[in-house]
């Protein structure tokens, strides 16, 4: 366990090595939040109501902030692993006494935490100024617990796609599909509550809703049923994807072909 903490720490140090870069990269969320605000303000005005399906404009904005923080702050692991296979640097990652996947988990977390923190902070200032104060402090713990589960699910998905690089040369198409699924079926662009009932049912039976909608929705409207549903969904999908990941890693290692002499 200690070694994984050390790996987390060095990644943390590495992402903090250039604070100015960290800040500039996170600035993109300012623009996103401003655009979202204009978009949803018009939508709410056109609908002529305070709340759509129980969410106010302020709720929607804080929902989108949490979703964007996760999407922009999660590690780009699929691309990273495929890059490591392509340039041969994976040789160093596989010949050390740790589990490769736990290494990636610890290093992804160390890389992601400062980025997510910065995104949330900058985006939070903008949303607060435009749409109003954040949800009550009592909403935060369940939302952040679900956020951790969602982060882990993203990790599993990404690692599975990344491991495909052991076999396929290019994994970008898989990553593209996964990302669009999260955008649409995960409720990243539009809260799932705004979808028709049948589509909501479809989304709940897929993992993507637990990777975006769950934590974001809990942040603005923490209901016990949503909390239980999200956590159970996350546990179930983590078991499925985690198991798949372990199997894929074992068989991928047998077929690994590393480029470069």
């Amino acid at each position: 366990m200690k070694k994984y903490l050390a790996i987390l720490k060095i990644n943390l140090l590495n992402s903090l090595a250039y604070p100015a870069e960290l800040l500039t990269r996170a600035l993109v969320i300012v623009l996103f939040m401003w655009i979202f605000f204009q978009l949803w303000r018009v939508t709410f005005a056109a609908a002529g109501t305070e709340a759509i399906h129980g969410l106010t404009l302020r709720d929607t904005m804080w929902y989108l902030l949490l979703a964007e923080t996760l999407e922009l702050g999660r590690p780009r692991l699929a691309r990273l692993i495929s890059q490591q296979v392509k340039d041969g640097s994976i040789a160093y990652l596989l010949n050390k006494p740790y589990h490769f996947l736990f290494y990636q988990l610890a290093s992804g977390l160390g890389d992601s935490l400062p980025r997510m923190g910065m995104l949330f902070l900058l985006g939070g200032v903008v949303v607060w100024a435009l749409a109003g104060p954040p949800p009550a402090i009592a909403h935060w713990p369940p939302a952040f617990l679900a956020l951790a589960g969602a982060w882990l699910l993203h990790f599993c998905f990404n690692a599975l796609i990344g491991l495909a690089a052991f076999l396929a040369e290019e994994v970008a198409p898989f990553e593209w599909i996964y990302q669009k699924m999260v955008f649409i079926l995960g409720g990243m662009l539009i809260p799932l509550d705004f979808y028709p009932a049948w589509l909501q049912t479809v989304c709940r039976s897929l993992p993507f809703a637990y990777m975006m909608y769950g934590p974001a929705r809990l942040f603005v409207r923490p209901e016990t049923t949503v909390f239980v549903q999200t956590l159970l969904g996350q546990i179930l999908w983590l078991a499925v994807l985690g198991g798949g990941l372990a199997l894929a890693f074992g068989s991928g290692m047998r077929r690994l072909a590393i480029n470069g002499g």
């Binding site: 070694k3 060095i10 040789a91 596989l94 010949n95 006494p97 290692m253 590393i258 470069g260 002499g261």
Partner: protein
């Protein structure tokens, strides 16, 4: 027990390829053309504990693939191997505690952080306690003369300095076996010498076996007792470095530049003149060290005029390998 035992090891990679053009691309979608590349073709060898063994061969000879199999990163297609009693690809993580690796072209130090951060991280990864790690870092810093470099971000080090830190990092956990893949690539003469000396000293002091791949005949001469030459995935030569030198590395190339123009009939006894560049006052010679000692050639060269610059080098390793390969084919 030998540190490394390899028997009939082979590794075949499947590569997809397609002809140029749109039609070929579309066809490749439905019927991909796959061909097998045999990177390692049935090699067998042994290496004793504490031995310094050189692994040489041109690009694509299978050196790196073999090293990657021996560290457990790649599964072989067939054959057996045992490294320190472990089967690398089945016991990769157990083996990792006992071997150190350096891939010259792939840095393992964190680029934006000082080397000490990577060394401390490795201490944790290899499960040393903090006191042990500190003591070991001090020891290695002295051996590799990197005391003043440890706190500098790696990106600010020269290649030579970085390589010394790389090798030091690979020795942190006191491995019994060090696998060095092109450790001197891209280094200048002084840096090469520096790193070779440090490796040799550490290996002798801690009885570490060293398996080294290189393009550079100088690495072999300076470090290794025995050499294996690979060509097209097969072992074409396996013997002591001294024997190799006696039978193949017998000629030297000398390039001299004089302060004044060289006579058109310039000649030095016991050497073969390859080129005379009169307008640049230069000459290029080759001689056989078995017949003409280096000292006598040097003496005669200085007698012939005022020497401004002189370079003595071995014939390129590719030439030596070509000669050995040709011989291997003749023998077969």
């Amino acid at each position: 027990m030998p540190a490394i035992q390899v028997k009939n090891l082979t590794k075949t990679f499947q590569t997809r390829h397609k002809a140029a053009g749109l039609t070929a691309s579309v066809r490749a979608l439905f019927r991909p053309q796959v061909s097998a590349v045999e990177a390692v073709r049935g090699i067998s060898f042994e290496m004793e504990a504490g031995e310094l063994l050189g692994f040489i061969g041109p690009n694509g000879a299978g050196k790196s693939t073999t090293i990657k199999i021996l560290t457990g990163i790649l599964f072989p297609t067939s054959g057996e191997a045992s490294v320190l009693g472990y089967t690398p690809w089945r016991q990769r993580r157990q083996l990792a505690y006992h071997i150190g690796t350096v891939f010259g072209q792939r840095p393992q130090l964190w680029y934006h952080l000082p080397a000490i951060d990577t060394l401390t991280l490795f201490g944790k990864i290899y499960e040393l306690d903090d006191r042990q790690t500190k003591r070991r870092i001090a020891e290695l810093a002295e051996a590799f003369e990197i005391q003043d470099l440890l706190e500098t971000p790696v990106r600010k080090l020269s290649l030579g300095q970085r390589m010394r830190c790389e090798v030091a990092a690979s020795l942190l956990h006191k491995p019994k076996l060090l696998l060095l893949d092109e450790p001197s690539i891209g280094l200048d003469v002084v840096a090469k010498q520096h790193i070779r000396d440090a490796i040799r000293e550490m290996a002798a002091r801690e009885n570490v076996g060293v398996l080294l791949t290189s393009h550079d005949a100088g690495d072999l001469e300076a470090l290794c007792k025995r050499v294996i030459i690979l060509h097209h995935g097969q072992i074409v030569y396996q013997d002591k470095v001294s024997t190799l030198k006696r039978s193949f590395l017998t000629s030297k190339l000398v390039e001299v530049r004089y302060a004044q123009q060289v006579a058109p009939d310039f000649e030095i006894a016991g050497t073969e003149t390859l080129k005379i560049a009169r307008e640049r006052y230069g000459v290029k010679l080759r001689f056989d060290t078995r017949r003409t000692p280096v000292e006598s050639v040097l003496a005669r060269l200085t007698e012939a005029g005022d020497v401004v610059d002189i370079t003595i080098s071995d014939p390129p390793l590719e030439e030596v390998i070509a000669a050995i390969y040709a011989q291997a084919e003749r023998n077969a």
